[in-house]
Symmetry: C2
Subunit: 306 residues, 2 copies
């Protein structure tokens, strides 16, 4: 019986690493692909790759993305050759994205390409793209609509968010791999990633929200707030943009009907009651043992809910 | 008035560099694209790039290809990810090929993409792809047909050549840029590249041979034999495969009807008469001054023929 984790960027990826440490091959990650972008001639899939780098111990933890020790030789040359310079990609990271593009050009589905990449790099857990069709998260600011990478990287998440859309999500299909993983899951965990732009696109793929909501397995979400604060990224802004409060309660409300329990940071200053079963544990994951411990606590809590 | 050089790999590229040293912007190179190959997810165009690296002083002269100081980080990672390992490409070289692919994916013609690349890298002379359609030189050995890169790189030019074909050449079109360059040429030089598989594909593009043969400009070929010997590559094998002798006379015969004169190495032990006007000068190009000197001598000889 496998544990399925929904994950976007850093928080979800760290928890996936902690769960892999506990469960080995018995963890399957469903990864957000709404941040995907074609840039520099390659197919960039930031969240599935970030998760893969976390699962394989290659992540540049200090920088928060990319591969430890990676350099930017090809990127810098591409800029000299005339490519835009706002989307930086290290050499090793670029190799991943070039490999993905080649596999997909050959006719491979994105799910298959990501599995091939993750397994070639030595991940024990399985990393699944949330779907095979392109879904592109779009952010509307006063300056108009833009892709999520443009917003996060080029605009440094500065402008206020007025609206969020998942372009292409309605036409996407739940893959056989995702359907099988959810149907066979013993536990489903929503990782502490941005609930709106990291987990939101996954739940927007037709069939996935329903499969989770109707699963007989316990479904728990881990709040992305540590000590009541956002660890990284525009989580608060995104929650506000969809009318939710930027705290654990807002996250629980955002997942209403999907989750059966919440894991909230023991330092959370939020309201004592969240309306569903809640466990308070330390959720900061700044070491392998902290990641493993949060994985264990989350699994324990889920098994109590079952 | 411009000088037009037909060139493939090393010899032609070195002469192009010598001529650029003399003429600056007034040299246009028509480069063989029959060696092009899609590999590692990028569009590799070995001869136009080799020429570009020679014209911009970036060539790894010792290795004979690629860029000086380049490393193979991305290539090695791609192999780890499952890509075939026979076609090595340095990081900076790969950036060129990725840029080319992106420009062509955007709808740019190969000619335009190469000009953009060459000018971004600082070439003073103009590098033109011989055509915009894919032409793929094929080599038949006892083991069957294979692409020229497979033959040269993977098979290390080992097996005997039984037949040579330029797939796609009949359907290719002379570009406006090539037509203009040849129509406006004051001198046309066929560089000391392999006459069969480097210059042959250029002359096989419908219209190019005729445009050269009927040009009012003097047309001279520089023999690729130095001291009667091949400097690099399977020149002798290729000439034999098309029924020509592997010497300056064989080269002159191969270009019959196209050229009006030959530049032959002063150390050439071949027959004294080649049937057309011939000048004997040192053709080894192992220094910038030797390359420039050969360029000057070739231009002088051509002007005497005019």
């Amino acid at each position: 019986v496998k544990t399925v984790v929904l994950a976007g960027g850093t928080g979800g990826a760290k928890l996936a690493a902690g769960l892999q440490d506990v469960l080995g091959e018995d963890v399957t990650v469903i990864a957000n692909t709404g941040d995907d972008v074609e840039a520099l001639g390659v197919y960039v899939s930031p969240d599935p790759d970030l998760i893969t780098y976390w699962l394989t111990g290659q992540i540049d933890e200090e920088r928060g993305w990319g591969i430890r020790g990676d350099v930017f030789t090809v990127f810098e040359r591409l800029v000299r050759l005339g490519e835009p310079d706002w989307f930086r990609l290290g050499d090793l990271d670029l190799a991943t994205c070039l490999r993905r593009r080649r596999l997909m050009d050959e006719g491979m589905r994105q799910t298959e390409a990501q599995r091939e990449i993750s397994s070639a790099l030595g991940a024990r857990g399985c990393v699944l793209a949330m779907c095979d069709e392109p879904v592109r998260t779009q952010i509307r600011t006063a300056g108009g609509w833009m892709g999520v990478q443009e917003y996060l990287v080029r605009e440094r998440a500065g402008p206020a968010i007025e609206e969020i859309a998942f372009d292409g999500a309605e036409g996407a299909l739940m893959t056989g791999e995702v359907a099988d993983a959810l149907a066979g899951a013993g536990t489903i965990v929503i990782g502490p990633s941005n609930p709106v732009i990291s987990i939101g696109p996954i739940l927007a793929v037709p069939g996935i929200r329903e499969a989770i909501a109707t699963s007989s397995a316990p479904v728990v979400a881990v709040s992305p707030f540590v000590d009541g604060k956002v660890v990284k990224g525009p989580t608060a802004e995104c929650l506000r943009a969809v009318g939710a409060t930027p705290d654990a309660e807002g996250v629980a409300g955002h997942y209403e009907g999907v989750i059966g329990g919440m894991v909230v940071d023991s330092g959370d200053p939020g309201p004592p009651s969240i309306g569903i079963p809640t466990v308070y544990v330390p959720t900061r994951m700044d070491s392998p043992s902290a990641r493993r411990r949060l994985g264990e606590r989350t699994l324990e809590f889920a098994s109590e809910l079952a």
